[in-house]
């Protein structure tokens, strides 16, 4: 097993991966602490929440790439799994506010506002981080498993599957919008104060969350690599290319699709849970259909079917988004739409595909 993991990358590949990790979790924090404030090398505190956010998005892209890029099942509903993880974390953070809320009550503020007298049963247990931790690990995957079981069992494929995932995320958004559902309605959960006793306003807490996210992303990158380079991964790509042949070769494709779908949702849920404490809010807009579509665009832009492509795509698109929403907020959605069309038409293998094509060309020139 360990041998298999070492073989996932060439020596050069591992060095590169580890140096990226090193830059993220050692160099950047050091520059924040030791570089003088006014030097261009200094990384200000607020950047770490932003980086942390990007890393969460990258984790989402990784998850979508496994199910879409490798298995060919386009999901436009991953916002749901992201939100489920996010809401679970949000509930814990709400409970850790304690009596420091506006109404100085044991109950979360929005419940007082709705004139609720006691905590609904489904909020029980979220005082405990351990409990929350397991909910984060189980809920998104379990939900995906049940949804996926019925969808794949009925052999729903392609566009039809994409559409029902859109319907799923839309339905859940409407459900969470209702005040009576008990998750804070359209305001969602916010005003968080502490996580595990540490103040969320402290730069050190923010930096720790960022470092944790980077490490989690690294771990899941290795896991994903392991999956796609195993025979399991080859079966997945085979399903993408010719599901009939895979079935007639004796594979139960339902199990394979269900497994990778559940793993993908699981990763996405963890990304959501890491995201919420870093941005300080979770609300139903995370489940907007357009949100899930945007997630798929990250992967398409970066390059489907390559793990690095997914990571790069999430970074590029969100980087562009951060820039646009400051410089030209009205044009962001136009840009995103055009980007998606251009990539789909001219660069089906995405950003990473452009590079590998250039590399092959250069090699060809050298040889010729």
């Amino acid at each position: 097993m360990i041998k298999q993991i070492i073989k996932l990358h060439s020596l050069k590949g591992w060095l590169f991966t580890f140096s990226l990790l090193g830059i993220a979790i050692i160099l950047l924090p050091l520059l924040n602490i030791f570089a003088p404030e006014n030097s261009f090398l200094h990384i200000p505190d607020y950047m770490f929440s932003l980086f942390g956010k990007y890393l969460c998005y990258a984790l989402v892209a990784l998850a979508i790439d496994l199910i879409w890029g490798y298995t060919g099942v386009l999901s436009l509903g991953h916002g749901v799994f992201f939100s489920l993880g996010g809401y679970a974390m949000g509930m814990y953070l709400m409970r850790s506010i304690g009596k420091e809320g506006v109404y100085k009550s044991e109950l979360p503020d929005f419940m007082i506002f709705l004139d609720w007298k006691e905590l609904p049963w489904y909020w029980w247990g979220f005082d405990s981080f351990i409990f929350t931790f397991f909910v984060i690990l189980i809920m998104p995957g379990l939900f995906a498993f049940i949804f996926g079981y019925f969808a794949f069992k009925s052999r729903i494929k392609g566009v039809y599957f994409a559409i029902i995932t859109q319907a799923m995320t839309y339905a859940l958004m409407l459900l969470f919008f209702r005040n009576n559902t008990g998750f804070g309605g359209n305001n969602g959960l916010t005003d968080f104060k502490k996580i595990l006793g540490y103040s969320l306003q402290e730069p050190s807490t923010k930096m720790s969350l960022y470092i944790l996210t980077a490490i989690v992303l690294f771990i899941f990158y290795v896991v994903a690599r392991f999956v796609v380079q195993s025979k399991f991964g080859r079966v997945l790509t085979a399903i993408r290319d010719s599901e009939n042949r895979v079935m007639f070769s004796g594979y139960n494709t339902l199990n394979y699709k269900l497994a990778i779908w559940t793993i993908s949702a699981f990763i996405c849920g963890i990304a959501g849970a890491l995201y919420v404490p870093q941005v300080g809010i979770v609300n139903p807009s995370e489940m907007q259909p357009s949100n899930s579509i945007e997630m798929a665009i990250w992967v398409a832009v970066g390059g489907r079917g390559t793990l690095s492509g997914a990571l790069v795509g999430a970074g590029l698109v969100n980087g562009a988004k951060s820039w646009f929403t400051v410089a030209a907020p009205d044009y962001w959605l136009y840009f995103l739409g055009i980007l998606f069309i251009v990539v789909t038409l001219f660069f089906p293998k995405g950003f990473v595909g452009i590079f590998s094509r250039l590399r092959i060309k250069r090699k060809g020139n050298q040889n010729g």
């Binding site: 999956v227 025979k231 079935m247 594979y251």
Partner: protein, 261 residues
């Protein structure tokens, strides 16, 4: 249901009466059109059976029914005397020992030739095994032998998408063999092959009979003449005639459907 990929043992297929496949009184209709109409067809264990028939005679539907892709409206399909194929899913049928080659060559275009055979290889096909197990020496040997048989040894690290049409046809046959099936259903194996490739394929199929039972559907008459022992003519969803090639060719009913128009 055991979906872990456990294999049905050969001796579980009851062929004591000499037959491996029983298709009895099968009818399949699509929107009122009867693709198969009271079809009765039996395949002897170890024989090489050829099926011919004009377009729309129900040849492909027959294969769909045997492999679980289409469920018959009426009738029974048994593998040996004991396995009711109409109650099994595609992958269970594959495990039971039926391999199928599609009309259009269907291989995994983005995988190498070697990987194509690896995926087809007869082994435990559960999720956990796929995730953790790698090929052992014996399995590699089987794959190498397979590469030899289908003449693609030099192309083993080539993406299957880059193969010629005929090579893809062979690769698909090689994948079937790697599954080590009792019964092979082969739909138009020589479509798009050169004369030489066709000859080579004929030899390959003839060498398989005995160890495996083989059912070949083909249009190409010369090819059938070169391999056939028993020929069966399908027309409008049922068997029109059967026998040796010469008998069938001289059968007035066959002449009418094939050449009459």
């Amino acid at each position: 249901m055991d979906s872990s990929g456990a294999h049905v043992k050969d001796d579980l297929i009851d062929t004591r009466h000499g037959c491996i496949l029983y298709i009895e009184e099968v009818t399949v209709s699509f929107d009122g059109f009867k693709a198969l109409n009271d079809l009765n067809l039996f395949v002897d264990d170890g024989e090489l059976l050829c099926i011919i028939g004009p377009n729309g005679a129900g040849k492909t539907t027959m294969m769909d029914v045997v492999t679980g892709k289409t469920r018959p409206d009426e009738g029974t399909v048994f593998f040996g005397q004991n396995l009711d194929l109409t109650q099994m899913t595609e992958f269970e049928i594959s495990h039971a020992g039926i391999g199928r080659k599609f009309q259009k060559p269907t291989v995994f275009l983005n995988h190498t030739v070697f990987e194509n055979l690896e995926l087809a290889l007869h082994t435990n096909k559960g999720i956990w095994q796929s995730l953790t197990k790698t090929l052992n020496g014996k399995q590699r040997e089987i794959i190498e032998e397979g590469l030899e048989t289908i003449g693609l040894k030099n192309q083993k690290n080539l993406r299957a998408g880059l193969l010629s049409h005929g090579q893809k046809q062979w690769l698909e046959i090689g994948m079937l063999l790697a599954q080590d099936p009792r019964l092979l259903l082969i739909d138009e194996p020589v479509a798009g092959m050169t004369h030489q490739e066709t000859e080579h394929t004929a030899e390959l199929l003839k060498s398989l009979a005995g160890k495996h039972s083989v059912v070949v559907v083909e249009h190409e008459m010369d090819f059938i003449r070169s391999i056939a022992n028993r020929v069966l003519v399908l027309h409008e969803g049922h068997v029109l005639a059967e026998g040796k090639m010469e008998e069938v060719q001289n059968n007035p009913k066959v002449i009418e459907v094939y050449l009459g128009s």
